[in-house]
Structures are given as C-alpha cells and as structure tokens.
C-alpha cells in the first residue's frame, strides 16, 4: 500500500494525542501545574491536527460531514463519530485543568475510555480489510492501542519531570508500555513475515487448476490509480532493516533514556525524557510508514506485484 504522508501523520499524531489525553484523564499528574495545563492543550492540538491532516487526502473534503452517518457498518464513520464525541469530555477536562487547575475524575475517566475507543476505531479501519491480509488481524488494534498508550505515558512523563511531581511512577509505566508495545509489534511483524497468502494469482483468476499463473501483460503500460495506491512495494531486506531501526530508535532508545532520567533525576531528567519522547515519535513514524509500505493488497495478484 502507498504510504500517504497525510495518513501517516494522522495516525501518528492523533495516536499520541489520544494517548496523552487518556493518561491525563487518569489523573496521574497534578492538574494545577503549568506543564499539565500545556499537556492538555498539546493533546487537543495533536488530535485536531491529526484529524485535519486526515481530510487532506479526500477528493471532496467539503462533504466530510457526511462521514458521520454510516456508523452502523463503517469503522471509518465510527471513528469520525467517536473523534468528535471524545472532544466533549476532553474539552471539559482541559477547561478545568487550564482555567481552574482542577482534575475532574469522572469526566477524566470517561475521556480516557473514549480516547481508547477512538484509537480502536482507527485501527479497525485497517484491521477490518480482508483484501489487505497484513492488517487483517486482532494484533493491529492491539498495536495501535499500545502505541497510543505508550506515547501518551512518555509525553506525560516529560510533563511530570518538568513539574516535578509523580514523575517516577509515570516514567516506570511509560517504560513498561513502550516495551510491551514493541513486543506486540514484533509479534505483528512475525505474523506478517510468515504469512501464507490468502489470495494468489491462481485464485484471483481461477485458472490454478490448469497450472501456474503468471501475469503476461498488464492492461496498460503506465500506472493507474490502483497500482499507484496499492502497488507500493518495499524490498524485504529494506523492510527488515527499517523495522529493526524502528525498534531501536522507538523502543530501545526511549527505554534507556527513561532509565537514565529515573536514576539521574534532577536537571538531567527533563532533557532525557524529552529525547525519549522524540526518539519514540521518530520510531513510530518509521513503524507507520512500514505499516503501509509492507502491506500487500490482493489486487496486486492481477498486476503481477
């Protein structure tokens, strides 16, 4: 699948935003501190930015409101509905944190749960597609949820180290979640690399009972919408290297940096935590790029890819 920049940006940013908002909703941090107030605003900005970037790839964005209507059948529609509904508790929480410096447990918890549901809906847009076998697994929403939670905890850890309260607990939780998220992703990659293709040129043409089927001529010489959208391929060697790089930058580096922050403490903790969050975000972008680039669409059985 073609890794569209707007979609990579959307899933990464909104994932981090929802993760941070969910962690803030749990009330682990002191809502009266400046860094937590900024974190609330930052989470909303990331979510809004992600949603806006997701409309960039639409052919007719002026009708985007229609996407809220088909929640009965469509995960994309469900995601849209949930994204907007989740804004309500998040706005209330942000208002009380920023203006009054207070944490509202009930609204906060409702917000956290809704953040989780929204991220789940995002993941299910991909996981529900049978035509893209790489995504069609329960591991896909699991990874999305864990990555969002780990990212949220990492960002919250930065805020906690800045404000100086609750930092150790936050950092330890972040450390655990980062590790668990990449373990889940490792399982996702293992599944992908040992996958027996559901559909083959033989099943796509129904000619398998005659013999081995090979594309002889495409319908045309140049690319079309389908080959551009679904035909993106990345060499296996390349993908393996990149996935290891993602684990190293997005997983190992943040864990080491968090450990340094916990044990060093004091002034060194803040830059270490910031660096951990940046590394994690970078690793996540690579992971998201691979998520699309590595996925093979069944239609490529008709295009020799």
């Amino acid at each position: 699948m073609h890794p569209a920049f707007s979609i990579i940006l959307f899933t990464t940013l909104s994932g981090l935003g929802y993760g941070l908002a969910a962690v803030l909703g749990l009330g682990l941090l002191d809502a009266s501190t400046l860094s937590v107030k900024l974190a609330h605003l930052g989470a909303l900005a990331m979510i809004a930015g992600g949603l806006l970037s997701s409309t960039l790839h639409l052919g007719n964005p002026q009708r985007a409101w229609r996407a809220l209507s088909q929640w009965r059948s469509s995960w994309l529609s469900r995601e849209g509905v949930m994204a907007i509904a989740t804004f309500l508790p998040l706005m209330v929480s942000t208002w009380f944190a920023v203006v009054e410096g207070r944490y509202l447990p009930v609204v906060g918890l409702i917000g956290s749960v809704m953040c989780g549901i929204t991220v789940y809906c995002t993941a299910m847009i991909y996981a529900s597609l049978r035509s893209i076998q790489a995504w069609n697994t329960g591991l896909t929403p699991l990874c999305y949820l864990l990555f969002a939670a780990a990212g949220g905890l990492l960002l919250a850890t930065v805020g906690a180290f800045v404000s100086g309260s609750g930092a150790t607990v936050c950092a330890i939780l972040a450390l655990i979640l980062v590790a668990v998220a990449w373990i889940a992703k490792h399982a996702w990659w293992n599944r992908l690399r040992t996958l027996v293709p559901l559909s083959t040129p033989e099943s796509a043409t129904g000619l398998g009972n005659i013999g081995h089927v090979r594309l002889f001529e495409r319908p045309h010489i140049n690319d079309n919408y389908l080959t551009r959208e679904m035909g993106f391929k990345v060499a296996r060697k390349h993908a393996l290297k990149l996935s290891r790089l993602a684990i190293l930058v997005g997983g190992v580096a943040p864990i080491v940096l968090l450990l340094m922050a916990i044990f060093a403490g004091g002034a060194a903790a803040v830059p270490a935590a910031v660096l951990a969050a940046l590394c994690y975000a970078l690793g996540l972008v690579v992971e998201r790029w691979l998520f699309f680039a590595e996925a093979r669409h069944a239609v490529m059985n008709y295009y020799g890819g």
């Binding site: 052919g59 985007a64 996407a67 088909q70 035509s131 089927v213 919408y225 239609v299």
Partner: protein
C-alpha cells in the same frame, strides 16, 4: 445506507465472462469508457492524455495471463503454456465490502437487483472502498475526486428509449467475440445461469468471502500443440507427397 440488503436480492444482475472466447481485443474497455464517460455521474477523466505519463479512469480492464501446467517449460514446451485474456470489471458482490466500509452512504447495493453503485453527490473521495475491494474494481477519478465503478450500465439495461437488443451493458453489446454475457444470475433458468451450470462457471477469489455475482467460464481443455500441428509443417517429412512433388522429392534425393 451502506448496510447491505438484508435479504437476498430477488434479481442478481451480473455478467458471465467466457475466458475461452475472449481474444483480448480491449474493445469492451473502449466501449465502456465511451458510454460511461458521458453517462452515469462524472466523466471518466484522463490525466496527461497526450503525454508520456498518460493515465485515466477505467471501469473495465483486460489483463493477460500465461498459464503453465506444472512441470511444463515456459519456452521449451511452448505448446503447453497458454495465454488467457482476462476481462475484469466490478463483480457486484453479494457481500460487498466496498459498501459496508463507506462512511458516507455513497456506496450502496440495490435491494431490487443487486447492482452496486456510488451516489457521487455523497462521495467524499476517501478511497477506502477501493482499498476494501480485492478485485480492483473501483478507481478514483482524479478530476472529480469521486469513486468510479462499473454500474452494470444501469442507464442502459432499464432504458426503454433504447432498442431491446441494446438494453445490455455496453461491454456485452460491443464484444466482437461474444465473450461477455449479461443476465439474472438469481434465475436458474436464465441463459447466463445455464451457461454457468454447463461450463462450471466460478467465482474469483472465493476466499475473500465476497460472494461475487459475476461468474467466469474456464478455458476449455486444449489438445497439445504437437497433436494439431500434424506432419505437414515438418519440413523434413515428405511422406505422402504425390505427382510433381513426389518426382521432385525423388530427384532432389538422388542429386
């Protein structure tokens, strides 16, 4: 409404495509584009139509496959490899994932005849339906920003201003080899249903769980090339030569 019709549709209008007959002339591709660029919904645009990077929206495309029986050599035993031209357009699936994934209700399956259509005034051009289709039946029109797909020429098949013989999809009407057939696959007595029963018509990628309406008829078994070549084409064999050629053969042998 992007939920699928709850009951099986009373009619299942669709195509039966005969892979034994298709000669790969692409006439159906052209007639499809010609009819549908002026018919239902937005025109089928081309990008860079006279340039090197020409590309455009098509609802029907012909792929060509080479099928080699296991153990056969692609070149060495060319007689055993065969070329199959493979027309492909929307299969109007019963369990159409392109319909259920649509967030806006633009994509729908008609309850009366099972035709899958896009209401372009509702389409936001997100492309998710094209992602969900394993068959590549949907293409985004880059000029209009809406999803285009085969309409089974819904503006022809019910069009009483056309002569009855023309009330079939454009690709069916135009096929010079008669490889494409249109009809009601829910009616076991229809011509298309009988064809499917007789020839062992099958679904593409049944493992995708989409239950396509369109069916494909397999190529008929073919005798080996050597068997139909006979002795005539083999230059070193003069058995059976008569008259002047027998004399010439004999003379040339003696020289």
């Amino acid at each position: 409404m992007t939920s699928l019709p709850s009951l099986p549709t009373p009619k299942k209008l669709g195509l039966v495509i005969d892979l034994d007959v298709c000669v790969g002339c692409h006439a159906c591709v052209i007639s499809c584009k010609e009819w549908n660029t002026g018919g239902y919904g937005a025109a089928l645009s081309d990008q860079d139509p006279y340039g090197a990077e020409v590309s455009g929206t098509f609802l029907n495309r012909i792929h060509t496959f080479e099928v080699v029986p296991e153990g056969g050599q692609v070149i060495g035993e060319a007689g055993e490899a065969r070329i199959v031209h493979f027309p492909k357009s929307c299969l109007h699936c019963e369990d159409a994932p392109c319909v259920t994934v649509c967030p806006t209700g633009a994509s729908y399956k008609r309850a009366e005849d099972g035709i899958v259509l896009v209401d372009e005034s509702k389409c936001i051009g997100c492309g998710l339906c094209a992602w969900s289709c394993a068959y590549g039946a949907r293409e985004m029109d880059l000029a209009a920003g809406v999803m285009k797909k085969c309409t089974l020429c819904v503006d022809r098949v019910y069009n009483e201003t056309l002569k009855e013989i023309d009330r079939v999809p454009s690709c069916v009407r135009t096929c010079p080899a008669n490889a494409r057939h249109y009809g009601d696959l829910a009616d076991p007595g229809s011509e298309v249903s009988r064809m499917v029963a007789e020839r062992g018509g099958y679904d593409l990628m049944p493992e995708q769980g989409t239950r396509p309406t369109n069916k494909y008829l397999p190529p008929r078994p073919r005798k080996p090339l050597a068997a139909s070549a006979g002795s005539a084409v083999l230059a070193e064999n003069t058995d059976g030569a008569k008259g002047f050629f027998a004399w010439l053969d004999g003379m040339l042998d003696r020289i």
